[in-house]
Every structure is written in structure tokens, then in C-alpha cells.
């Protein structure tokens, strides 16, 4: 059973198509759904990687210091002995370390919030290739520094946020990839990491200018992605019935949720109208546009969507100009993320003529 990959309480940041140096958001690429997003906070691709200075599992004296390894690529994976996902990954990471050691890559496996003896015992016989750096982060300090502040807010112990997560750090000490654990698409083989690492290594050796992985900060406000227009019904007479046509013009690339919504946690598009002396009926939505979202299809509103709102002027309404308030609540989303739910209020007037 899948839950929709929306961060409902987070502003969307869109990769800008205008600059040749920027890429579409990494989390929209298959296999990279767990990629950190800018709104989660640092460290992000493009940021300097926090220092790692930790004891090596197999030695009583030696330590690994990231800053001393400038000039090498570094793959970092956080783990713990009790995490079943992490447990499946160990042998695969051992192989990855061996495959890339001759390509100037250090692979680190960092055990978080556990005693060194427990970690050593756990590793016995599990790292046959011998190229993996197994480090101990006993007090969780390193893990905490790598945990982005605005993700997995339910975790009090911030070190837990990075368990089963992977980073790639370049020879200049800059983060180039950060994938959080994705239980739904769990791949213990690190296929996505290998894929991206191969790209990064090829770029560097070809002398290519690295694509700027920072996601651009172009923030669209929910107000600007939907424009609302209401048809003028013309003068109406006391006792008349009619229908207002409210047109939602939705920016390209965005959709609003259907009413009723395709999932219980979706924000349906709703309209509420009020005016003195006029009763408004249940809005009638146009046929919803079916939209392929990852592996399911949902109902949406897209483009120009006209909603019909039946109304009846009370038989005892006074003649004159009626101010109408139309409140439209919606949540605008792209394939990758959602803007905050938003309410737009459109005010207009209806002319009520006296009965003939």
C-alpha cells in the first residue's frame, strides 16, 4: 500500500528550466526518490560536508578523518546493528567499497549510537573484501550533524534520521549526493548510488563543469498558480434560479485535487459562496483529469477548470447590488511536491432586479 509522496507541510522548490546549468529535481528520477530536498535544510548537495573524525572499528588507535582525505571521493553510509534494512546492505556495501577503491573512492560505514565492541562483533566475517572503512559514531555526534533539521520531525533523536542513508562527497569535500532511506523502494544493492557515482566520476575525469546540484529557489506562491474568474450572470430577478461559472485557471505543470479527493489525506478543491439574499447550491465540478502519479492514477483539476455553482435568489430578497464572496480552497501540486494549501477569495457583485 502506498502513500502519496507529498510533503504536505513544505513549500515546493522547482528546478528552474531557464538556466542551462540546472537539472530537474533529483527526486523525480527513478531510484532517487529518497534524495534530500532543499527545504529539509543542510547538508544539501553543493554544501561542504560536515567533518567526520571517528575511530576505526578494527583498530584501537587509528581514526578516519574526512578532512585529511581531500582529493578522494567518499561514500558515507550510516548504519546500526538492529536496523533490518541496514543489515541487508552490509555485504553489498562491502562489494561497492572493493569495486571503487581503485577509482579513488573511500567507502565508509558508520555505526551510530552503539558500543564499539558490539559493532566489531557484528562485523565479524561480514566484510570479506576488506576495503570498507567501518567507523564508530558511539555518541551519535556525526550522525546528528548530517541529519537535515526539517525532515522526520517525529524523531527526537536526530541521529536516527540518517540511518540507512547514503552520501557521496567529492574530492573538494562538497556533498554531491544525499539519499535518505526509502523503505518503500528499498534497494540494498546501492544501484542508484553506483549509477550516480559513475556519472560523477566520469564528469570529473572528463574535466566537465559539474552541473549545479543546488535546486533553484524559485518559489511559486499558491496564489499565483491559480487564477479565478467568475462569469457575470447578468441581472437576476428576485426568485430566479441560475448558475455561476467559476473558472480556475491552473498554471501549467500544476494540478489541484478532485472533490471528493482520491485519497483521504488529500486537500479537495472546495468552493464556498455567500451573499445576502442568495442561496448557493453544491458546486458541480467538470470531469476530473486522470493523472499518473508514480504508480497510481488520481483525479485532478488541470488547465482551465470551470465549476458550476447553482444559485437561487430568495423570493423576499431586496433589489440592488449584492456583494458575493467566493472562497476557493485548494492545494496546488506538481508531480514532485505540493505548495501549502491555500484559500483565495474572489469578490464580485450580482445585480438583483425587482420582480416585474
Amino acid at each position: 500500500m502506498t502513500l502519496r509522496p507529498y510533503l504536505l507541510l513544505v513549500l515546493a522548490l522547482i528546478g528552474c528550466g531557464g538556466s542551462a546549468a540546472s537539472a530537474p529535481p533529483l527526486w523525480t528520477r527513478p531510484g532517487f526518490e529518497g534524495a534530500v530536498r532543499p527545504e529539509m535544510g543542510p547538508p544539501q548537495p553543493g554544501d561542504a560536508a560536515p567533518e567526520i573524525d571517528l575511530p576505526i572499528a578494527g583498530s584501537d588507535t587509528d581514526r578516519y578523518r574526512l578532512s585529511a582525505r581531500r582529493g578522494r571521493w567518499v561514500v558515507v553510509h550510516f548504519t546500526t546493528t538492529w536496523c533490518p534494512f541496514c543489515d541487508e546492505e552490509v555485504e553489498h556495501l562491502d562489494r561497492l567499497a572493493a569495486d571503487y577503491a581503485s577509482r579513488n573512492v573511500d567507502t565508509l560505514l558508520i555505526d551510530v549510537l552503539e558500543e564499539r565492541d558490539r559493532w566489531r562483533t557484528y562485523l565479524e566475517g561480514r566484510l570479506p573484501a576488506g576495503k570498507l572503512w567501518a567507523l564508530s559514531d558511539v555518541d551519535g555526534g556525526v550522525a546528528r550533524r548530517y541529519a537535515p533539521p526539517r525532515v522526520a520531525g517525529a524523531f527526537e533523536e536526530r541521529a536516527h534520521v540518517v540511518l540507512a542513508s547514503t552520501l557521496v562527497i567529492d574530492p573538494d569535500g562538497i556533498v554531491r549526493l544525499f539519499l535518505l532511506a526509502d523503505s518503500e523502494r528499498f534497494d540494498p544493492t546501492f544501484a542508484a548510488v553506483r549509477e550516480r557515482l559513475d556519472e560523477l566520476l566520469a564528469e570529473r575525469s572528463a574535466g566537465a563543469t559539474p552541473v549545479d546540484e543546488r535546486q533553484d529557489d524559485e518559489v511559486r506562491s499558491p496564489a499565483e498558480v491559480v487564477t479565478i474568474a467568475v462569469s457575470d450572470p447578468g441581472p437576476v430577478v428576485v426568485g430566479d434560479r441560475g448558475e455561476l461559472r467559476v473558472t480556475l485557471s491552473i498554471a501549467s505543470g500544476y494540478h489541484l485535487m478532485s472533490n471528493p479527493p482520491s485519497k483521504p489525506n488529500y486537500i479537495p478543491t472546495t468552493l464556498q459562496l455567500e451573499a445576502e439574499g442568495i442561496q448557493f447550491g453544491t458546486p458541480v465540478f467538470p470531469p476530473f483529469t486522470r493523472f499518473q502519479l508514480w504508480d497510481e492514477v488520481i483525479d485532478t483539476l488541470q488547465g482551465d477548470a470551470t465549476v458550476g455553482v447553482p444559485f437561487q435568489v430568495s423570493s423576499d430578497a431586496a433589489a440592488g447590488t449584492r456583494a458575493v464572496n467566493c472562497k476557493v480552497e485548494y492545494q496546488a501540486c506538481t508531480e514532485g511536491s505540493c505548495l501549502f494549501p491555500f484559500t483565495q477569495v474572489v469578490s464580485f457583485s450580482i445585480q438583483v432586479a425587482a420582480t416585474i
Binding site: M1, T2, L3, R4, P5, Y6, E33, G34, W82, P84, F85, D87, E88, A152, A154, F155, E156, E157, H160, L163, A164, L180, A181, D182, S183, E184, F186, D187, P188, P264, N265
Partner: protein, 164 residues
């Protein structure tokens, strides 16, 4: 995911506490059942725990809804640790290797976990209707984690009228 899944009958089972209190799921026919699999070592279980406790408290006096909490995949020491973390308001049953509830592991869920398959159930939540049919079933979802169990409450609300 494979079966059992939403729409399937919930496999019957019997679990107990170390003090000898037992529960057979089929005895709850006629009630809506929230079934939560928990453990002390999983950060997802831990983050959900106060919200699960609140859910159990909210329905403590209810004849319509019953919250069943089963601690799995740990020794008694871990089970006691879970109990000590928060007052749950509902008995917490203990099934160390999850053998009593192993029928709940969907065969195709998280295929990459090959050993100790019952671990797939850690932090899973289900809602079962009055006829014993599964109407809601989630596994741990790291990227879309609903610690406050809003979806569980919504699923209960679909089956039982009134505020949840």
C-alpha cells in the same frame, strides 16, 4: 504486497502478556480493531508510541473500537523497555519472534529483506472491520512517515461514525 491485504480476512491469532493475559483476535468480531505491531528498538515505533497511546486512551471506554498492541521481535527486556517508555492505556501483548502473527507478513512486501521476514511488520498498523476484514494496512514508510497516525484515525472514521 501479496496477501493478506486490504479486503482479505485478518488471520486469526492468539497472543499473551508475560502475566498471562491472553487475547484471541476472533473474539473481537463485532468490534472495529486497530492492530499495531511495535518494538522498543525501532525509531518509527518510538515516534508513534505517544500517538498510539493517545489513540488507545481515546477508545479505552469504547464498545465499538478496540486497540490491540503487539510487541514483536525482541526479548522480554526490550518488551519491558517499550512499556516503560510510555503509559499505553491498553494491554501490550508480547510475541518475541512474531510467530503467532507471522501470517500477517505480506510475501511480496520489501522483498530485499530476506532474513527474519517478520521484521517487515515492525511499526505496521492495520484497521480491521467488524466482520474481521482488513480495511487498512500500512508498513513503515520512511519518506512519508505518519507518526501521528492520522491515516489510522481516518480509517477508523470510515468504519465508525462520530469523531475520531
Amino acid at each position: 504486497m501479496g496477501h493478506p491485504h486490504v479486503g482479505d480476512p485478518a488471520p486469526d491469532f492468539e497472543v499473551s502478556t508475560p502475566e498471562g493475559e491472553t487475547l484471541r483476535l476472533s473474539s473481537l468480531r463485532g468490534q472495529v480493531v486497530v492492530l499495531a505491531f511495535v518494538t522498543s528498538w525501532c525509531p518509527f515505533s518510538k515516534a508513534e508510541q505517544p500517538h498510539l497511546a493517545r489513540l488507545a486512551h481515546d477508545f479505552a471506554g469504547s464498545e465499538e473500537v478496540r486497540v490491540v498492541i503487539v510487541d514483536i521481535d525482541e526479548e522480554e527486556q526490550g518488551y519491558r523497555k517499550y512499556l516503560a517508555q510510555t503509559e499505553m492505556g491498553s494491554p501490550v501483548y508480547w510475541n518475541a519472534a512474531a510467530e503467532a502473527v507471522s501470517a500477517y507478513v505480506p510475501p511480496n512486501a520489501v522483498p530485499a529483506i530476506t532474513r527474519k521476514r517478520w521484521r517487515v511488520l515492525v511499526s505496521a498498523n492495520l484497521v480491521i472491520d467488524r466482520e474481521g476484514v482488513i480495511r487498512f494496512f500500512t508498513l513503515t514508510d520512511t519518506l512519508r512517515f505518519d507518526a501521528e497516525m492520522r491515516h489510522v484515525r481516518a480509517a477508523i472514521g470510515d468504519l465508525v461514525p462520530g469523531p475520531t
